[in-house]
Subunit: 382 residues, 2 copies
C-alpha cells in the first residue's frame, strides 16, 4: 500500500500494519489498551488512565461472513466487519484490548456491543441523543462515571492533573491534524486527498501521541516546503471535492481514489477521521476539567445527534473555506442516521448552489465500476 | 374488515375508521389531540393535560412512495408509511393532531421526526438508552419536562391530582387489556389471535378511556360466557403460537392471519399492542407521581434498550404461562434493534427448547405467498 503513496506519506500507509508490533510491545511492557469505535470516546480519560486507545473499526469485507452468523445481513458493513474480526479472532488490536469502549451512538453499534460483550469486556458510554438543555450535565456525569470505572478496573486513581495533561497533548495532536488538513485550502491543494486520508488514519496507530504530533508536523512541513519550491502534486484544474458522511476507511479505494483517478481532488474530509473530530480543543485550564472534556466531544456534529445542527453549520463553513466545487456524501449501507440526514444535506447544498451527490455503498468490490462511472459523471458536470 | 371478525369483535374492527369521526368531534368541541408513535409515550401526562393521544403508526404501503421522496428506501415500513401519511396529508389523525410526540427510541424514528418537524409541531422525548443507574432519574426529569411543555403549550396547569386520576383510569384500561389477553391461556384458547389483536388495536381509537374499559370488559365477559357454554372458536389441536418482535399492525394479514389459516392459534402477543405495554401499572398513590409514571414506562422491554433483559425475562415467562408450542418473531424490514436482538431471542428459545422462527417483512404483498409457505412448514414441524 505504501507503494501507492507519495514518499512523504509512506510511513503512514504502513502505520496500521506496523501498529500491530507497537501494540504488542505496549502489552509486553505491562501497558493497557482500550479498543474504541467512535470519535465520541473521550480519549483524554483513557490517556490519563494510562490506557492506549485504538480504533477497532473494521475496514475489510473478509470478516463479514463470520459476523453474519450472528448479525443481520442488512446492516452497516463497518459494524459487521468489526464484529467479524472479534468473533474470528483475526484482529490483533481487538485481541490485545483489555477493554472495549462502546457508545450509544447508533442502533447498530448499540446492539452489536451486547453480543461483543459476550466475548470481550465491554464498557458502554451513554451518549445524549442530542445537544440540548441538560445534555452537557448528563454527558459530564457520564464521562465522570467512565473515569471512575477505569480507576476501579485498573486499580489506579486518575488525578485531575493527568486529565489536564492529556488534554494539552491531545490539543497539540488536533492542532497538528488541523494544520495538515488546512494545506488543502491552497489552490491547487498541496496533496492528494487519498494520501492525506491515509496519514490521518495511520496516525491513529502510533500510540505515542508525542510521536504523532511530531510526525504529522514534519509531514506538513515537508509538504509545504515542496509546494513552496514549486511542486504541484495536484493539477490546477482538478475539481475540488469535499467529502462528508460515514467513516470511509473501508471504501476509500472505490470512492476517494476513484474521484482522484477521474481528475478530481479531495480537499476536505468533514467525516470521522477528518475535520469533525479535530475541530474543537479541550480547555486544559477549565475549572471543571471533566466538563471541559465532555463539552469538546458533545460538540461533534454527527448524524446520530438529533437535531444535528452542528454538522450543517460545519458543512456550510467548510464548503466556503475549502472553496469546494462539489460535495460527495459517502454513506455506508443501512446507516439509518446518515441516510435520513442526507436529505437535509442535499437541501443545504441546493440552497448554497453547490452540486451534491450521495453514494451508499458497502465493503464489497461489486459496485466499484458503477461508482467510478457515477463519480466521473459528477465531476464532468462540475 | 368487520365482516371477517366474529360478531363479538365487530365494533373493534371498525374502530380505527370510526375513530376519524370521534377525533373530528373532539376537535370541534375544542379538544386537543396528540399524535404518538410509541408505547414509551407516557399517556397519563397527556390525559392529565386534557390531550387525547392517538397512534399515528402507519400501517399501509399506500403512502410509502410519497415518503421515499425524502426518506431512504432501506428503512422501516412503519416509519416510511407514517411519514408518507403526514407528507401527503392523507391521515385524519395526523391532520387533527395539535402536536406530535416523538421519542429517541430508534434511529429511524429519531431522524424521521426531524423532517416531520418541518410540517408539524413535534415534541421529542429523550428516552434513556437502557435501564441502568440514574436512568430512572433522567427519565423522571424528562417526563416532568414533558408536563411543563404541555402546560406552556396549552396554557393550563396540570395538577398532580389529574396525573393520579389518569393513572387510575389507565390502570383500569391495562387491567381490561390483560384480562382479555389472558383468556388465551385456556386450552383451546378462547379466541382467534387475529380477532384479539384487532380488538386491542381498535381500542386505541376510542379516545374515551372509560368506554375502552367498558367495551373491553364486555368483550371479555361475552367471550368467557360463550366458552363456558361450550363454544370453541379455536380447534383443540391448533398449535399455540407466541408472537414477538416489531409492531405488526401493517403486516397482520400475511403473518397472524396466515398462521391461523394454516391451523395455528396465536395465543400471545408479546409486542407493542399486546402484553408488553399493558404489563405494569402506575402506582397512583406514589409519593412522586411523575417518578411512578416514568417507572412504569421505563419497564417496557423493547429492543431499543441496551441491554434488553426485560424482554428476555418476559418472553421466558410468557412462553410458559401461555403454554406456547412455538415462537414467531415478526420484524419489520431494516429494524436494526430487533433484527440484531433476534439472535439473543433465538438463543433463549434454544435454551428453552421452544421452536423459533424469525420473519423479516415489509408492507408489500409480494412476500405473502412465501411467508405462508414458511409459516405452514413451521407449524407442521411443531
Amino acid at each position: 500500500m505504501s507503494l501507492q503513496l507519495p514518499a512523504q506519506f509512506a510511513q503512514f500507509g504502513d502505520a496500521r500494519r506496523n501498529g500491530f508490533l507497537r501494540v504488542k510491545q505496549i502489552k509486553e511492557k505491562g501497558g493497557k489498551v482500550a479498543g474504541t469505535f467512535c470519535t465520541f470516546t473521550p480519549q483524554e480519560i483513557l490517556d490519563a488512565a494510562g490506557v492506549s486507545p485504538v480504533s477497532l473499526c473494521g475496514m475489510s469485507e473478509e470478516t463479514i461472513p463470520a459476523a453474519e452468523a450472528h448479525l443481520p445481513k442488512n446492516m452497516c458493513p463497518l459494524i459487521k466487519s468489526s464484529y467479524g474480526f472479534a468473533v474470528s479472532d483475526k484482529c490483533p488490536y481487538t485481541y490485545f484490548s483489555d477493554i472495549i469502549v462502546g457508545e450509544t451512538t447508533c442502533d447498530g453499534k448499540k446492539k452489536m456491543y451486547e453480543l461483543l460483550g459476550k466475548m470481550k469486556d465491554v464498557y458502554l458510554l451513554h451518549l445524549p441523543q442530542g445537544d440540548r438543555e441538560h445534555a452537557l450535565d448528563h454527558w459530564t456525569e457520564e464521562v465522570g462515571r467512565f473515569r471512575d470505572f477505569l480507576e476501579e478496573r485498573f486499580g489506579e486513581e486518575i488525578p485531575e492533573g493527568k486529565i489536564r495533561e492529556a488534554a494539552r497533548l491531545r490539543n497539540r495532536e488536533r492542532v497538528a491534524r488541523r494544520r495538515l488538513m488546512e494545506l488543502q485550502k491552497a489552490q491547487p491543494p498541496m496533496s492528494s486527498g487519498y494520501a492525506l486520508y491515509k496519514a490521518l488514519e495511520g496516525a491513529g496507530f502510533y500510540f505515542d501521541v508525542e510521536e504523532v504530533c511530531r510526525e504529522l508536523t514534519r509531514l506538513a512541513d515537508n509538504i509545504e516546503a515542496d509546494y513552496a519550491a514549486g511542486s504541484r502534486p495536484v493539477s490546477e484544474n482538478a475539481k475540488r471535492i469535499l467529502i462528508t458522511g460515514c467513516p470511509i476507511g473501508g471504501v476509500l479505494e472505490k470512492t476517494v481514489k476513484a474521484i482522484e483517478a477521474a481528475g478530481g481532488a479531495v480537499v476536505c474530509f468533514e467525516n470521522c477521521s477528518g475535520i469533525k473530530a479535530a475541530l474543537d480543543d479541550v480547555n486544559p485550564e477549565a475549572e471543571d476539567i471533566l466538563r471541559a472534556v465532555a463539552e469538546k466531544y458533545l460538540k461533534i456534529g454527527c448524524a446520530v445527534m438529533t437535531p444535528d445542527a452542528r454538522r450543517m453549520e460545519l458543512l456550510r463553513r467548510l464548503v466556503r473555506e475549502y472553496n469546494a466545487d462539489g460535495v460527495v456524501e459517502i454513506d455506508l449501507q443501512a446507516c439509518t442516521t446518515y441516510s435520513v440526514e442526507s436529505y437535509t444535506v442535499r437541501k443545504l447544498m441546493e440552497e448554497m448552489e453547490i452540486p451534491y451527490m450521495a453514494i451508499e455503498t458497502d465493503y464489497s468490490a461489486s459496485d466499484s465500476g458503477q461508482l467510478a462511472t457515477r463519480l466521473e459523471a459528477f465531476l464532468e458536470m462540475l
